[in-house]
Every structure is written in C-alpha cells, then in structure tokens.
Symmetry: C2
Subunit: 142 residues, 2 copies
DNA sequence: GTGCCTGCAAACATTTTGCAAAAAC
DNA sequence: GTTTTTGCAAAATGTTTGCAGGCAC
C-alpha cells in the first residue's frame, strides 16, 4: 500500500501552485525551503511516482521539466532562455503559427490509415510543443 | 568555414535511410560499421550540428532520438518498448484519438489571445507526440 | 599551410540505486 | 510490528569538452 508522506505532498503542492515548469533540481531547491533535510533522491523518486500515476506531467526538454497542471494544453518552449509557457490561448499575430493552422488540423483529420503500424495502438495521451523564441528573447540583443 | 567530412556525411545518410529514430548510441554503433575508428564524441558533435542546422530532428524521449525525415509529421511513442512511429497517417479505430480530434483542432483555432506572454513570440516549428502502447506491446503478456 | 574536425579520455550533469535508519499505518 | 519511504552516498547513464594530431581545403 502506498503511503502519504510530507515530502510527496509538498512536492505535488508546489508543482500545482507554480506555472514555471520547474526541473527536478528546481523542485529540490524549492521544497528544501520547507523540508531542509530532503534529498535529491527523494525528489526524483516522487517525481517519477507522480508522473506514473498521471498526477503531474513530464515535459522532455533539455532536462525533464514538470507541470502540475495536467489539463491537456500545448506548451511553448523558448529555445533561447528555455522558459516554457502554457498555451491555453494563442497568439493571433504569429504568422508562422497561422500558416500552420490548417496543417495541424489536417494531421488529426487524416487519422484513417488503418494499415499503419499504429493501427492497433492505444493512445493514452498526446502533447503539442511549439518551439521558437519568446517575446523577451525576441527583443534581447545578445 | 564548415568542412565536409565522411563522418558527417555517413551519419546524415544513415539517419535519412532509416525510420527507426535511433538514439545517439545507436547511430554510433551503426556508423561504426562503416567507420570503425569513429568516436562517440564525433557522433554527438555532428548530431548537435545537424540539429542546429535543421537537417535532422531531435525527439526528446528518455534519451534523445533522431529523425532524418524533417518533413513535419507527428510521432507516436510507445511507453513500453520505446519504439517511435511516424504518423503520416493515423489509425481510424482508436477511440481515444477520435475523442480528442475536436480538442486538438480547437486548441489551434483558439489562437487569438494577444495578451498572453506568448504574444510576440516567434514560433519556428512545432511537434505533436502521441503516447501509449504500440500494437505489439498491446498484445504482449508481460 | 591554416584552421576545422577527429579520436581519445576525462569531466560533467542528470538521474538511479543500495542500504540502513526513520516514518507511516 | 511490518512495510514503505527516506537521506545519504555511490554508481550509472548520457552528453560535453580539452587537447594533440589528422584531414579538408
């Protein structure tokens, strides 16, 4: 039987409260404020656990980043500063995005080739990632 | 000035010929057949290089996996055997996928909140990943 | 000949793991 | 009291890097 520990509770609580998609290391450092004796091992074990139970989301960037908001929403990953934004809503001015509108829709609508190796697979979830430069990095000199 | 080397050429050639989305280690082992003296360092350096030039795709799974086919297409990642399938076409029988059809379309269509932090970002590309169990793993006992 | 690229090995970063003690139930 | 979880440290994994020599141009 699985047990409730303050470590697990505080980690999950932290992830649900922030929208910064922290790395394991960041989670460790933050949770350490409340539980000074916590170890990285514990953080990694709990993150893995929560992820397997579907309570948090693992965003595979350069290092894994975690999201306590498991409602299905796309992410925008800045390739310069590595910030990750939730995309509940989208930019209306982005030309690239607009030009791809149709394409994204079409991919899903064309879901009808039963001969693919994917034929009897079971999809349990999906993720959409947008890549580029965030507005701050856009205007940054260096 | 960038130089042409057999190492780079053979790595790119290999990635363009296979659809298995090999890891860096797998690329190393395969290319080693043609260039027995090649080192991991060279493989990593070239993969990074090709990726930055946009000649190959980096799929962030448990370890990075590479795709020589840079035409924009979604991927299905089996969470059991870690195989990655290209989804030029989709399964017509998958209930989960079907039920999400509208949702995926809606996300893109709702691209109109100019107040988001994403507002002035520049999207240069996007990726869609489907997760689940492939057909083989579906029928596997263990 | 010059300067980029390689092979090698060491270094690095991130994540996992074995173990004894502590905590949960 | 039993079993899970923790903290710690060591190990494993994947990737990057410094350097001297080799190769492309």
């Amino acid at each position: 039987m699985e047990r409730n520990t303050s470590q697990k509770e505080i980690i999950l609580d932290y992830l649900r409260r922030v929208t910064s998609h922290p790395s394991a290391e960041k989670v460790y450092l933050e949770v350490k404020n409340k539980l000074p004796r916590i170890s990285r091992g514990t953080v990694y074990r709990n993150l893995k656990n929560l992820k397997e139970k579907g309570e948090i989301l693992d965003i595979p960037a350069d290092v894994s980043r975690y999201d306590g908001n498991i409602s299905n929403h796309p992410h925008f990953i800045c390739q310069k500063c590595a910030k990750i934004f939730d995309l509940f809503d989208f930019c209306n001015d982005c030309k690239v995005l607009k030009s791809k509108k149709t394409k994204v829709g079409r991919i899903v609508d064309e879901a009808d080739a039963s001969s693919s190796p994917f034929a009897n697979a079971r999809v349990t979830n999906y993720q959409i990632y947008f890549y580029g430069k965030c507005s701050k990095c856009q205007s940054r000199k260096i």
